[in-house]
Symmetry: D3
Subunit: 313 residues, 6 copies
C-alpha cells in the first residue's frame, strides 16, 4: 500500500486529546495540490426548527479526534489510500444565505477542478445543494444516496428556493442528479402533507421509508441501493436526523423511529466499489446535545464516507 503524504497526527505520539482539532486529525491546508479528498466545513445555519448548525463543523472536528485509522469491518485505511486534508470551511456568511450558497458552490467547483473529492460537514442540510452544484458536471451525472427522515423536496420553504427543505427538488430541476439514481432512505416523521415527499416519487426517486426499510430488511435495502446507484458516479448525503434521535439528539428536527448507527455503518460499508464522488454529513446542532453523542456519531459517519471516497480511487 503506497504511503501518502498527508497523514493524521500519530496518536501514539500526540495523544488524541492534544493539539489543534482538524477533521480526523488530518493536516489543515489550503493547497489543493496532491489532495485527494478534501474535508471542509459548511457552517450554514438558517431555516431549521432550532438554530445552531453553524457550530457543527467545529464540534465534529473535536469529536473526530477519536477516529483511528482503519475501518474495523472493511479493513480500509483511507489514509493509506488517499491524501486526505482539512480544507477549512467554505466561506459561509449566515447573514447572506444566497451569497453563501453561491460561494460554497465556487469553493467546491475549485475542488473539482483540482480533482479533489469533496467531503462536506454541515451546517444545515442546505449545505448539500451547493456541493452538488459544484461537484456535478450536469447532465444528470450524479446518483445520490440520501439518509434522511425528510425528503427535502418542497418547492420552496418560507418563500425561498434554496433551502434544507427543497434541495433534492432543486437538484433534480437543475439536472445535477439523475432522479432514477436517487435513493432516499429512512423517511418518516409527521408530514405537512403529501407534498413533503411526492415530487421525488414522481421524479423517479427510489424512496425507502423507514417502514419500507424495516419490511424489506437491511440486506434487501442494500441490494436495492447498489442496484439504483449502479456503477455511475454517486454522492452520499447524510442528514443526521435520518438517525433515530436516541443516536442524534443534537439536531433540530428529531424524528423518532429511525436508523441506528449500526444500520448506517453496515449500509455505508456495503457500498465499497461504488463510484462515490463526494459526500456530506449535515444538521448537527451541538448545543442541543450536551452529551456530545451527535457529534461523535457524525464523526464516525464522516469516516465511513471518507473510506468510500478513498477506496474508490
Amino acid at each position: 500500500m503506497p504511503d501518502r503524504d498527508l497523514q493524521p497526527l500519530d496518536s501514539f505520539v500526540v495523544p488524541r486529546y492534544a493539539d489543534v482539532a482538524t477533521f480526523m486529525r488530518v493536516p489543515r491546508t489550503d493547497d489543493l495540490d496532491g489532495v485527494d479528498i478534501g474535508v471542509f466545513g459548511v457552517p450554514s445555519d438558517s431555516a431549521t426548527f432550532r438554530g445552531g448548525t453553524r457550530e457543527g463543523p467545529a464540534a465534529i472536528r473535536e469529536a473526530s479526534r477519536a477516529i483511528r485509522r482503519v475501518n474495523p469491518s472493511t479493513g480500509v485505511s483511507p489514509f493509506d489510500l488517499a491524501n486526505v486534508a482539512d480544507l477549512g470551511d467554505a466561506p459561509v456568511n449566515v447573514l447572506d444565505i444566497p451569497g453563501s450558497i453561491a460561494a460554497t458552490e465556487q469553493f467546491v467547483r475549485r475542488l473539482r477542478e483540482h480533482g479533489v473529492a469533496p467531503m462536506a460537514v454541515g451546517g444545515d442540510h442546505s449545505a448539500a445543494l451547493p456541493v452538488l452544484r459544484g461537484l456535478s458536471e450536469g447532465s444528470r451525472q450524479l446518483g445520490v444516496l440520501q439518509f434522511d427522515s425528510h425528503a427535502d423536496v418542497q418547492d420552496e420553504f418560507f418563500g425561498q428556493k434554496d433551502t434544507h427543505a427543497s434541495l433534492m427538488r432543486r437538484a433534480v430541476e437543475e439536472e445535477l442528479v439523475d432522479p432514477h439514481r436517487v435513493v432516499q432512505l429512512g423517511l418518516r416523521g409527521t408530514r405537512f402533507g403529501d407534498e413533503d415527499v411526492q415530487f421525488g416519487i414522481d421524479a423517479g426517486f427510489t424512496v425507502i421509508t423507514y417502514d419500507d426499510y424495516e419490511e424489506m430488511g437491511r440486506a434487501a435495502a442494500i441490494e436495492r441501493i447498489r442496484e439504483v446507484l449502479g456503477d455511475q458516479p454517486a454522492y452520499i448525503t447524510y442528514d443526521v436526523d435520518g438517525l433515530d434521535p436516541s443516536h442524534a439528539p443534537g439536531t433540530a428536527a428529531r424524528e423518532p423511529g429511525g436508523l441506528s448507527m449500526r444500520d448506517s455503518q453496515v449500509i455505508l460499508r456495503s457500498l465499497s466499489g461504488l463510484d462515490v464522488r463526494g459526500g456530506d454529513v449535515c444538521e448537527v446542532a451541538p448545543s442541543l446535545d450536551p452529551t456530545g453523542l451527535t457529534a461523535t456519531n457524525a464523526a464516525n459517519l464522516l469516516f465511513e464516507i471518507v473510506c468510500l471516497l478513498a477506496a474508490r480511487r
Copy 2:
C-alpha cells in the same frame, strides 16, 4: 375530508419555533363545545424516585411544536378528522394529592359529559387513575393497553392507595376496567418481589413482559393486543419508562432493556379501528434530560394516540 374548526397554527405562516406553545399547536380553549379531543396536562408530581414531573406538560407542549399534521405511516391527519383542543391543565395541587386526584376526575368527567375524548399528559403515572375514573362508565367498561416497565398493581405505596404504583389495581377494584381486556406491555426492571406483578396476572391481565415481547415478536404482540382489546371501548396509557432509557432518559424509574420508539409507533399505528376512548402519556421529568429527547418522544407518542382517537370517530 371535512374541514374542522380547530386547527393547529399553520407552520408555513407561523414558524414552528414561534408563538405560544400549546399541545401540537392546537388552540387553547376552555370551551368544550365542538371539541372532539381534549388534550390537557395533569402536572402531578408525587412519589416517584425522582421529582419533576410537574414540568412534564409544559415541556411536552414545547416539544410538540415539531409535530406536523399527517401520520407518515397511516396517512391519518387527526386535525382533518376531529376538532382537537388544548384544554390547559387539570387543577392539580401538588400539596394535596388526594384532592388533586379528585379534581382531575371531575375535570375528565366534564369532558365525558361534553363528548370530548380525554388525552392526558402527565405528570406522574398517578395521573392515569382519575382519567380512568372520569372516563369510565363503570361495569368494567374499558379495556386498557398499558405501555410500562412496571405493572403498577401494588396495593399501596408508602401507605397510600391512589399512587403511580397502584393505579391498575385500583382500576380493577373499582371496576373501571375489565381485567380481561387489559394488556400490560414491556414489563421488566428489577422487582421488590412477586407482588410487583401478581395482582394483574391473577385478575386476568394479559401481561407481555419485554422477555415475552421479544420472544413472540412484534407482529404477534400486536395481534394479541388487538385480540384482547377487541372492539369494545379501550384506553391507552403510556408510561414513558416503558421505553428503553436510551429513548427516555428523562424519567424517574429508568429500566434498561425496553421498548424503542419504533416499536411503540408501529404498535400504536396498528390499532386503528379500535374503539379508543382516551389516553395518556406520563412520567416525563424534563429536568432529568437536558437533551430534551424524552419530551420530543413523548410528544410523538401523544400524536400517535391522538391519531387513534381521531380515526375512531
Copy 3:
C-alpha cells in the same frame, strides 16, 4: 387602583408550573383593543457567533411563569396599572432577514397605531431595529438606554446593513433616535478596533463603559442616565450580553466583567417617572445554557421594563 381587564393567571388557582406559558402568564390575544402594553416575541436568529436565539421567546415565556405581580422595590404592580397582553410573535422568517425586519416593523407600527406600547423579546439584537422603526415617529424622537457589552455601531456586518452589530448606527442615521439622548451602558469586551464604538461617540452618545460605570458608581450612573434621557420619550433595549456571563451564560457573545442582575434591577427601578415608550430584551440563546438561568434573568428584566411602561401611564 383601577382593575384591569387583562390579568395574569391567578397563581393561587392555577399553579405556576401549569397551563400554557405566555409572557408572565398574561392573556394571549391578537385583539389590540384595550391593550396598553403588548409583549411579543421576535424570534430572529441570524449573525451572532452562536445560533439559537429563535428559541428565545419560547424559553422566556416558560421562565416568566415564575414572575409574580408586584415589584418588591418600587411596589409597582404593572397588571393593576395597565392591560398587558401577549401578542404572540412578530412574523419572523429566519430565511428572509430583510423581509423579517420589514414585517416586524409593520407589526410594531400597528401597535403604535393602536396605542399599544411595544415590549419585544428577541431573538438576536437585530430585533431592536424594527421595533425602533415601528415605534419612532421620526425627528429623533426617542432617547435610548442600551444595556450591552457592545456598541452595535458598525456600518455593516458581513456586507449587511441591518444587523445586530449595526442597529444603533442605523437608528441614528434614520433619525429614529436622538443621539444626544442615547446612553450605552456596560460596554466592554475585546474589540476589533476603534470602529466598534466610535460612531456613537462621534454622534453624541453617552457611552458608559463598564470601566466608567465602576469608576463613577451606580448612583452617579443612574443620575447621568436620567439626565441624558430627560423627560422625553425613551426606549430601553437590553442585550443580555450586557450582563456578566455568570448571570447570562446562554448568549452568543459572552463578555466577562459585566453588569450584575442587581445592578440592572436597581438601575431600571430608578427610572420610574421617565417617559418609557417601549423596550426589548434580546440575545438569549437558550440551548447554550442548560441551567436555564439566562432565560430566568431575561424574564425578570422583562418584568422590570414592563413596570416602567406601566408606571409611565
Copy 4:
C-alpha cells in the same frame, strides 16, 4: 484541642473522590451516644415551582466530599471540637406530607433528647418547620436567622398550613420562635402582594430586604443580626434561593439580585460566639443545575453552620 471520636475520612488516605459519600465524609451512624452534631437529610419535595428537592441530601453529600477540615477565616476546625455524624435521612414519605412533617419532628426531638444539635439538609424549605418544632423547647425559645428571598409567612399555600411558604408564620404562631429575635435576610423577588411579607413585620421580625442590605452594608447588617439574636438560643435556616441565582441555579424559585456566597460566608463566620442550636440548608434541586454548583455551595454553607454549632460548644 481534644481529639474527637468521630472524624471525617482522612483525605490523604482515602482520596476525596473515593468511598461512600456522607456529609463532609463524617461517619454514618444511627447511634446518638456521644454525637454532638447530627447532620441529616430531610428529602421533602412538595410544593415548590419545580420539583426535585428530594434529591438534595444525596447531591449535597456528594458535593461535600470536597470540604476539608478547617475554616480558612475563623480557624475553626469543627471536627476537633465536636463529634459530627451523618444520621441518614429523616423518615420522609413524599406521598404523605403531614405524616412526613410529624415524623421529622419526632426524629429531631430524639436528637434533642440525646443532646445532639440538629443540622438538617433539605429538601424543600418545609423541612425547617419540623426541625424547629423538634428543637424548640417552646416559650418562644429560639431566635432565627433566615437567609431567603421570600419571607415564608403565608397563612396557607394551596390550602395547606405546613408548607415551605408558611413556615415562619407557623413558627411564630406555635411559639417555637421569638418573633423579636427573628432576622430575615435577603428578601426580594416579585411578590403576589403585601401578604408575602407583612405577617413577619407585624410580628416583630427584623426584615432586611436585599435593598436594605445593600444600603446598610454588610458590616451593619452583621451588627444588626448579632444584636437581634443576642446571646439566647438561635437557629439558622438557609434557603438557597437567598443566594443570587448565579450562585444557585439549582433551585425552584430563582430570584435575581441576591446574596453572594462571599456575603453568606462572611456573615456566618461573624456569628461565632452566638448560641446556635441548630440549622438547615434547603431548596437545592440538583437536576435543575447540571454544573453541580448549587450543591457545592450548599455543602459549603452546611460547613459554615456546622462550624458555628461546633464552636458554640
Copy 5:
C-alpha cells in the same frame, strides 16, 4: 431460601432517594467475615481519551439506588442467596498508577483469602487487571467474558505496560487467564491497525466482533460463550464502551454500532450456572453524560453480574 444477614435498605421504609448511597443500598462494611460478595470501587482514572472515571464508583453508587431485589427474568434475588456488601473503594491514588494497581491487587487478594467474590466498579478499564491478579490463582485458572468495543491487547500504551489498553495481554502473559477460555464480545470501532486485536486472536481468544455477533445472532453467541467458558472458573469484565453510545454516552471511547442493554442483559442472564468468580464494570465517566443514563445502565449491569455471583453459590 435462607435469610442473609446483609440486606439492602428496605425501600418501603427508607425511600430509594433517601440516606447514604452504597452499591445497591447494601451495607458498607470493612469486615469481610460472612461477606460472600464484595462490591467495591476502583476509582482509577488515567489514560483514556477523556478523563473523569475516578467519579465512576460514586456515580454508580448513586444510580444503583434504583435497583430493587429480584431479577425479573431469572427470578434470582441475590440478596436472598448471598451476603452482599459494599467494601468501599480500593486504595487508588491517581498520582501513582503502578502503586494503585499493586494496592488494588492486594485489596482483592485479601478478599480472595476471605472467600469473598470481588465485584469491582471502575474507574478506567485498567482496574480489571489487578482484580484478575488478585483473584486468579494462576495456572491459567480463569476464563473471561469481556464486553468491550476494544480488545485491550496492546503491548504497551504510551510506554506503559499496565493500562486499560493492554490488560488482556498482561492477563495472558501472566497466566492469570486461560486464553482458550476468553471471549471478547462486541469488538468494533476504528483501529490503529491489526495490532489492536491480533494478540488475542493468536493467543486463542474467541473474538466475537459486533459484525460476528450480528451475523450469528444472540442465541448462537450465548451458546458459544457458554461453550468457551465451560464449567471452570470465570470472570466477567464489562467495559461500558461495549455498549452502543446511545446507551452509554458517558464514557471516553464511544464507538457507535454496539451492544444494547437488552443484549447485555439477556446474555448475562443466560450464564446462570457458570462458575463466575468475579467481575467488574468499568469506564463510566459521569461528567460526560449529564443525563446520568450511563451510570444507570452500569448499575443495572452490576446487578446482573452480582446475580451470577450469587446464583453460583
Copy 6:
C-alpha cells in the same frame, strides 16, 4: 505600530465560528523563528478531585474563537505588538506524570532558547511547574503572581513531589522563583490544616487571602502586587479555581467566595509595564461545565496575559 507576520484569522472574512480553532485564532506553527509569544496546551490531568483537565486546551481553543484583537481598557492590541503563535500542545502523556513534566520543561526550554515567551494553557495546575522550570534561568530569577484559592505549597501530595498541590514549594526549593517576589492572591477554601499555606508564608510569599483582598480593596492589592513584583522578571499563573465558582464551575476544586472576572481583568490590566516573561491558565475541566462559561472566561484570562506579554516587548 509595526505590522506583525502572524495574525489571527480575520473575523470579517472567516466568521468566528468557522475553520479550525487555534488559541485566539492565531496561526498554528511548530517553527519558532520570529515567534514572540508561544501559546501552547499542557493537557495534564492527574491528581485533582475531579478529572478532565486534559480537555482544557481543546476547550479553551474553541472558546477563544470569540476573542477579538484589542483590549477594551488598555487599548493594547497584542497582535500588533508581537507575533503570537499556537504551538500545539506540550508532549504530555497522562500515563507518565514525571515524564510529562520533564517533557514539558524541555518544550519550554526550547522556547526560551528561541526567545519565545511561553503562555501555557492547562491541564491541571501541575502544568505550571515545568513551565517555571523551563523558563527560569535560576537564581531566584522570577517573581510570581498566582491567582488561586489554594497555596499549592504541600511538600507532597499522595506521595508525589511534583503535583498541582506542591508546585509553589518546589519552585522555591529549586530557586526558580524569588519567594520575596511571590504574591498569592485569592486564597480561601477550607483547609486540611495550616500546612496548606504555611510554607509560603515562612518563605516570604506575600499572601493575600480573599479576606485580605476584600479588606484592603482592589486598588491597594494592585499596588501591593506591583510593589512585590517590582521591575524584575515575573510570571503569572492563573488557577481558575481562584475565580468564584459562579465564574468557573468547570474546575475540580470549586471554592466559593472568590475573585470575579472583573477583579481579575482589572488587576491584570493594571500590571502593564511589568516585565512579564510567561504565564499560564490552568485547571479548566470542561466536562464539569456544560454551559462552557469556564472555558470562555479562561480564554479571556489568556488574552489578558498575552496582552501583558506583548506590551512588555
